[in-house]
Symmetry: D2
Subunit: 381 residues, 4 copies
C-alpha cells in the first residue's frame, strides 16, 4: 500500500457516472459488506457537469464530487482511481494516475488505439515495479460460473480443449430508427460490436483456456448504414453492427467468435461453449448463475450436460453471498472485481487481467479488423 | 406358442382403428424391421363400419378387415388379439379371446369398472397357466428414458426414494366450446382426466419405483360443466376435467399426482420428478428423448441435473434404431410394446404390465374417486 | 410521516443480523442509489451479542449497534423498525414498535401462532389509523417477473384462471446427517417446510390471482425423524420436511401446493404455473429474471410459452437497474420491498402485503395442518 | 407418370441398405399409411453382398433383393430409383436411372465432385423435360419445425433477415482412438464434417431464407490427424474434423456456419438461429419438434422466444400423424420426403431440392475449401 495510506481506509475516486460509473459505485459501496477486504471509502466522483455529478455522487454514496480529474488524482486521500470515462480518455487519465502513484482500475477496452494502449502498458509496468497496481475491467472473468469454468479446464476436466464457440449477442441497435450516438462513430468508439462486446468474448476465450490467440480471420458488417442524428437528418454509421472471427490459439485450439448488436431477442447473451477431449462446457450470460458441464469420462449412457446452479459456497465468490440457489445478478461481477483489486493492493500481488492482457485483446481486435479489410485473409499475431 | 402356430408367422388381429388402432398398426407393421422378434403378420383389422374398416385395413397394412370380432378371435390363423376398442368393450373381448387361447394385448385402462377388470384378471391368470400371454398397454413404460429411469432407480442410483411429483397435463379440452363426446360421459368413459391420463402417471409412479400405492387422497373437478352436443344444445359433462392426488407408497415414499385436460399450452406433458436420498430424476413426455439425472454423490460444486439424450445404443430399445442423437417419437413406444409382447410369447415369460398391474392402477383410481367424494379424506388400499 | 421526522432522513433500526438481517441491510444501504425514495439512514442494528452485533453493524453499514430492542424503539431518531428476528419474537416487538409510532416491516411468517398474529393485526389496524404503516416481508411479491405476472393476470391476459400449480423445493435438509436446529423443532419454528416455504407459495397463489383460499386439504410428512444434536445424540424432529395441499379459491380456481426441503438438486426452486382460459404462465425462482407466458389468443400454430427476460425498463422495478438483459439477483427483491415501504410511508398509503394478508396466509397454513391431522379431510376457511 | 405405370402401384428400387437404406426403407414402408399418396411398392433392394442384401430386404419389407443395379434400373416394374449408396457411386447410377426414365431420389451430397454433379444436373434437366423427376435428399427440409420456419420467414414475420447462425455439431469422432473408415479419406468421402454435415447447415441457410450464397470464407481443421486402421497401424486422416465459414447471401444477409464431428456431448445438434428486423427464430435438431420464435412486433415487455411445440395439425406434415404434443422422430423426415416425391411424380411438378440445388450447395462447399486453402480469403461464387 502507499505509505500515505497506512492506518486509514483506501480512498477511491471514480471518473464517470454513467452506466459504468453507476455499476462501479455499487461495487465500492457494497464490497466491504460481503468480503473481507481492506476498508475503502468512496471519496470523490468526477464528471464534467458539476450539478449532475454532484447529484450522482449523493445518490451513489460518494462523499464529494469534482469536475477536474487532474486535481482529484493529485489528492493525498485518493489511493485508487477507477476510470469509467469513455475509451478515448482512458490513456491520458490512467497514465497520469499511475504516475501519481494511484492504483488504477480502467474499464475495458483498455483504450481506443493500440498506440495508446501500449503507452498505458508501459506506465503500468513502471508503476507495478513501485507497488502500484492496475487492472482492466473485463468483469465477466468474475462471473462465478465462468471463474468456475476456468477452474474445471485448468484442472483438466475437459482434457485438451479443441474448439470454442463464443458469441455475444445483443439487440439494442436492431431498430433501424434507433438514433446516432458516439458509440456508432469510429473516431469516438474505435469500433462497434467488435470492441464493445466481441472483446469480452475474446477475453473469455483466452481466460478460460489460459491460452493466447495467434491468428485471426474476420469479417465486419454494418447492417444499418445510416441513422437519424439529433436534428433528424441521417448520419453515417462508421462502425460495425456485427463481427465474426475464427481464431487459432497457441495450444492448437480453434475458436469462433460472433458478436452482434442487432440480434433481435438476445438481450445480453454472451455465450461460450468449450469442447475438449474429455468434457465440455456451455454458458450464457442471460443465465449467469448456471454452468452446463459434460463429463465425458462417465459411462456413455449417463453422460449429459449437467446444469450446475453456481451458488454453492465452494463456487468462486459465492461464500460471501446467500444460501445456495439464491441467485446473484450482473452487477455482482463488479463487486467481485473490486474485491480482487483490493486484495491485490493489500497483498502486493499484481491482479489479472493486467493492462498487458487488455492490450493482447486489442491486438486480436486489430487483427480481426485487418483481416476484415483484406477479404477475411487470416492475420498472424 | 400355440401349437397351431408352429412354423408360420404369428397372426395378429386388431380390434379398433381409430387413434389407438392407427398407433398399434404401425407397431405391428414395423416391429420386425427393427427388432429380432418372431415373424408376425397383420391378418385382420376389425371394426363396426365395413367400408371404413376396409379402407383403414388397406391403409394400415392389414391383409383383411372384418366386422365381427367373435368370428375373428375364433380363427386359427389369429394368434394375437390386440384390443384398441373403447374401454367398455375391453372385458368381453379380452375374456373371450383369452378363453379362445389367443394372446391378448389390451389398451389401458384395463376396463371401465373394477368388476370387469377383476374378471379379466381371472381370465388372464387362467390363460397364463396354459401359456397364453396378456398385457395392458401402458405404453409409456416403453419410453426409453423412462425405462432407463427405472433402471437407475433399481440400481440404487437415487438411494431411497422419498418423493415423486407426477403430472399429466394436456389442453385439448381447454376451450369451453369444445363439443361433447363419449369421453365426457361417465357411463362411457368411466372417468375423465383421472382414468385417461392420471392413470399413466400413477402407473409410472409404481413402475419407476417398483412400488405399490397403499393410500390415496384425491380431488376431482370439472371446470366446464356443460358442453354443446351435436345439436348445439348444452349437455352435462359428467367426468372430471382435472384430478389431484397424494399417494403413500408401501416403501414410505409419497407421490403427488396431478392431471388436467384444460392446462393451456401443455400438449402432452407427462412429467415425472423423483427425489431420493442420493439422486433425482426429471422427465417430460414432450421431450421424450431426454432424461434429467442428478447424481448427489458427486462433489457438491459439480452437481446438477444432467440432460441425458437417451439415444445411446446402451439405452433401452435404442440399439434397434438410429445413431445417437437421432431422436425417436411417441409412436415408437408401441413398437417397443409389440417387441416385448412378441418376445414374451416366444419365450413363455409373462410380460409386464400384467392385467393384475392394470387392475392395481384402477384400484388406485377408485380410491382417488372415493376420497374425492369424501372431502379428500384419505382412503387405504 | 411522523412529525418528529420532518426535515431529516428516515431513521431505520433493524433487529436481527443473521441471514435476513444481512439481506435487509443491503436493501437499506442501496435503495436510495437506485430508486427515488425519501432519504433513509441506517441508524442502529440490534442483536443480543454486543460484540457480534457491533461487528455486523460496521460491516453492513449501520451507524450504531445495540442489544436492547426496547430502548431502540423508544428512540426519536428511529422511524422504521425492521424485524428480522426469529418468528417467536415478532409479535412482542412489532406490537411495541407500532404502539411507539414506528413503521414496522416484519419478516414472514407474521408470527408462529394465530393468536399472536391476530394481536399484531389489531395493533397494525390501530396504528394505520394514526398513519403508521406496516408490512410483512413476502419479498417474492417484488420479484419483477412475479409482479409482472400479476399484472398480466389482472389485465385479463389469462382469461379466467382455472388451475395453479405451485411448489417450493429446496434440498438443504436432504442429508439425513444434517444436524438438529431450532428450525426443526415445533416449539421454536412453528412448522417446517409448511411455514418456511409453502407459505411463500401460498402467498403467491393469492397474490397472483388477487384471490383468497377458501378450503384446504393437506398432508405433512417428516422423512428424517431424528437428527444428531450438538452432542451427537439423535433428537426428534418435530416439524415436517415436506407438505402437500390442494386449495380451493373464492373464484373457483384450484391450486396445488407442494413444498419440500429434501428435494435433492432443487436449491431454491419456487415454481408457479398458472393456467387460465386464455393463457398461461410459468415461473421458477432459480431463474427469477424469466417469465414464461403463453398467449392462447394467438393462432394455434404460433402458440408457445415465450421466455420473457424480465429486464425491460417497462417491467416492474427494472427502470432503476441496468440495461436490458443485465439480470438482477435474489437480494434485489428486498431493495424493491424497501422502496415500496418507503413510498407507502411517504404517501400515507398502506402497503401490501399487510399484516391482515400475512394472517390470512397463516390461516391457510393452519387449515392445512388441521387437514393433515385428519387424514387430509378438507377444511373450510 | 410413366406410361407403363398406369394402373398399378409405383415400384421402388433402393440401392444401399446401410444406415440410409434402413431409413429410406421405413419411409417407403410407411408413407402410404399416413399420407394420401399414389400407391407404392417396395420392389427390390440392391446391394453387393447377396446374402446380406437378401436378409435386409426381408427385414425392411422389400419384395426382392438384387446385386446388379444396372439390371434393376432396366426393369419395367421399377419406377423410382432411390440411391442410398456412397457418394462416389451417385453420378453413375443416377444418370443411368434418369436416362432409363426412372424418377430418382439420391441421398446428399449429390456426388463427391463438382464435375459429377454437373453431369447429374444435365441428366436431371433432360429427364425433367420428359416428366421424369429427381430429388436430392436434404431431408431436414422436411422437419416440420424447419418447414414452418421457412413459412414464417416467407410470410415476412421476421422482416428482413440480417444474420443467420448455423451449426451442426456431433461427437462421434471425438475419441482419438475411434478407427479409420472410408468417411475419413478424401478419395472416398470427398470431405469430412464439411460435406457430411455442414452441407445440411448450408442447405438450411439457403432454404430458410429462399436465398443464395454469393461469397464464402472458410477454415477447415483436422484435430485427430491419424487414426488406427484395421491392423491397428495408424493411418492418415485426410478430411476435416471441423469446418467454419462465413457466408454472404444475395439478399445482403450474412451467415456463420460451423460443423464438427468432435464436439463432445453434441449428438446430432443441427442448430439454426435466424435474426431479422422484425423477429427471430431458433432451432435445434436434438429437439426437432420445437421451434423458438420471437415476434418483435409485440410490445417490448411481452417479447420473448416462444417455444412452439410443432405438432399442431396446421403445422407442415403434422395432420398425418398424431394428436398435438405426441412428438415425431428423426426418421419421419424421410417419410415426408417420400410423400413429397410421390406427389411431385403424381402431379408432374418438379420437386425441391432439385439436383441444381444440390449442386449449388456443393459449389458453396467447394468455395469454402478453396478459401480454407488460401488462408480464409473470401471466395466469390
Amino acid at each position: 500500500m502507499s505509505p500515505q495510506q497506512a492506518g486509514r481506509p483506501l480512498g477511491v475516486a471514480a471518473i464517470g457516472y454513467a452506466f459504468m460509473g453507476k455499476a462501479h459505485s455499487q461495487a465500492w459501496r457494497n464490497v466491504g459488506a460481503f468480503f473481507d477486504v481492506p476498508a475503502v471509502e468512496q471519496r470523490v466522483l468526477v464528471g464534467r457537469d458539476p450539478e449532475a455529478v454532484a447529484e450522482a455522487a449523493a445518490r451513489y454514496g460518494w462523499a464529494e464530487s469534482a469536475t477536474d480529474w487532474r486535481e482529484v488524482i493529485a489528492r493525498d486521500d485518493v489511493d485508487i482511481v477507477d476510470i469509467c470515462a469513455p475509451g478515448w480518455l482512458h490513456a491520458e487519465i490512467a497514465i497520469a494516475a499511475l504516475e501519481a502513484g494511484k492504483h488504477v482500475l480502467v474499464e475495458k477496452p483498455l483504450s481506443n488505439t493500440l498506440a495508446e494502449s501500449e503507452a498505458m502498458v508501459a506506465a503500468a509496468v513502471a508503476a507495478r515495479a513501485r507497488g502500484v497496481q492496475s487492472l482492466v475491467g473485463f468483469n465477466y472473468r468474475r462471473v462465478p460460473a465462468l471463474a468456475y469454468a476456468r477452474q474445471l479446464i485448468a484442472d483438466g476436466r475437459l482434457g485438451t480443449v479443441r474448439e470454442v464457440r463464443a458469441a455475444y449477442l445483443q439487440d439494442w441497435l436492431a431498430d433501424s430508427e434507433s438514433p446516432m450516438t458516439w458509440r456508432l462513430r469510429k473516431e469516438t468508439a474505435g469500433s462497434g460490436a467488435l470492441g464493445d462486446i466481441a472483446s469480452h468474448a475474446i477475453d473469455q476465450v483466452q481466460f478460460l483456456l489460459s491460452d493466447t490467440v495467434t491468428e485471426a480471420s474476420g469479417r465486419l458488417h454494418t447492417f444499418v448504414g445510416q441513422r437519424p442524428g439529433r436534428d433528424g437528418a441521417l448520419e453515417e454509421v462508421t462502425v460495425d453492427d456485427a463481427a465474426w472471427a475464427t481464431l487459432a490459439l497457441a495450444s492448437g485450439a480453434i475458436a469462433s467468435v460472433e458478436a452482434s448488436r442487432v440480434a433481435l431477442g438476445r438481450k445480453n447473451s454472451l455465450r461460450v461453449e468449450v469442447y475438449g477431449t474429455d468434457g465440455a462446457l456451455a454458458f450464457d450470460l442471460e443465465r449467469l448463475n448456471e454452468l452446463e458441464f459434460l463429463d465425458a469420462t462417465a459411462p456413455a449412457p449417463e453422460q449429459g450436460f449437467r446444469r450446475i446452479v453456481v451458488t454453492e459456497p465452494e463456487h468462486p465468490y459465492l461464500d460471501a453471498w446467500w444460501p445456495q440457489g439464491h441467485i446473484i445478478g450482473w452487477e455482482h461481477t463488479f463487486v467481485h472485481q473490486a474485491r480482487d483489486f483490493l486484495l491485490a493492493i493489500r497483498d502486493g500481488n499484481p491482479p489479472s487481467p493486467s493492462f498487458e492482457e487488455g492490450l493482447q485483446v486489442q491486438r486480436v481486435l486489430a487483427a480481426i479488423e485487418e483481416s476484415a479489410a483484406a477479404k477475411s485473409t487470416a492475420v498472424q499475431l
